[in-house]
Symmetry: C2
Subunit: 193 residues, 2 copies
DNA sequence: TTGCAGATTGACTAATCACTCCACAAAAGT
DNA sequence: ACTTTTGTGGAGTGATTAGTCAATCTGCAA
């Protein structure tokens, strides 16, 4: 029932929804098409998600959870702050490149009115780790003394931008790696003292 | 007939559409509600725009045109490149703050499948001025020698990010001005040699 | 075997929506 | 004055959609 132990069918529904939402937008994809793409009856969809909106929000939370899970693997509490930031930055970038559809969905969701359906605490939870890291950097006087929220926004938007660039230009893996490294150094130069 | 000499009613329709699209999203705002909000009959809307999609795209082009018109006022071809960039950057930022709804709409539009409905040349035209400026900067060895597209993406995403931050935190005008100035210096440090 | 709870189905419905159509009004032209 | 073009209105329409429901299926515990 809870998304943590998602059924096969539930996964199929989420996958189908993700694909179609990114392709056609939220409202332009009927629930019937989602069900068909998932190989599931119409009613089954509504057995798991009471409304279409609920499905959309659930999909967002699911993706964010998968991203977070992917980011926490490297337990690198001992590294210097810059390295921790770098791991975070590059990790997020790589995840975005390996999950382009998910990335596009998040972008679409975040600049849509659906964002308001998310509980504020849920939004906060997503960026908690990054915020802590930035706070640590500021306290250690490694990062510029500016509002944490501001630095976080700069970092996030930069991640979005670079990802978008990589998605549209599709460089070779080698060129991509180089560009990502360079990007981080540029961004780091911007936010560090 | 052409949007350059928009009728009163046409303007009302665009204004109403803008407001409702930002509030509820594209598909969640019926054309009937747009007409009502504009104080116009249902049929009148379809007299000016054959389809809802056409209206959406027209609205995007209209906003982009207004932004461009606002950016070209300062004929500052004689200034050093940094100052030209700064004027551009700060101009865009101020426009965004004075036209939050328009800004939100553009953001929503750009991360939606509607973007594909725009002719590629139309997209290119919008960023032409910025691209020329960046090219000039690279040739003069003032900016880092990197793909123009990449620098442009970095700048754009930064603009989006800062705007978003300002919109959510709503600082005092003085604090806002200071933050904008600082932001530019940070970004400039990132992209200049 | 029996019984039961949750899963699954797909036909069905009430509502909604994009868009049409035609009547009429206001300019614009002649 | 009169014809044409253009703008405006709003009821109407066919298609589509989110969500329902009663029936069937599945696995499992007693």
């Amino acid at each position: 029932m809870i998304s943590q132990s998602a059924t096969d069918k539930q996964r199929e529904i989420l996958n189908a929804a993700l694909k179609l939402f990114v392709e056609h937008g939220f409202h332009a994809t009927p629930t019937s098409k989602i069900a068909k793409e998932a190989g599931v009856a119409n009613g089954t969809l509504f057995h798991y998600y009471n409304t279409k909106d609920e499905l959309i929000v659930a999909l967002y939370v699911d993706i964010k959870t998968r991203l977070s899970a992917c980011m926490n693997v490297g337990e690198n509490g001992h590294l210097p702050i810059k390295e921790k930031c770098k791991a975070f930055f590059i990790g997020a970038l790589n995840w975005g490149m390996e999950n382009m559809t998910e990335f596009r969905f998040v972008q679409q969701f975040m600049s849509s009115p659906y964002l308001l359906m998310l509980a504020p605490e849920e939004i906060q939870k997503q960026s908690r780790v990054a915020m802590d890291l930035i706070n640590e950097g500021i306290k250690a006087k490694v990062l510029k003394k500016m509002p944490v929220e501001f630095i976080h926004t700069l970092l996030s938007s930069q991640l979005f931008g670079i990802n978008q660039y990589l998605m549209t230009t599709k460089p070779t893996p080698a060129a991509q790696k180089k560009l990502i490294e360079e990007s981080f150094e540029m961004v780091w130069g911007m936010i560090s003292v």
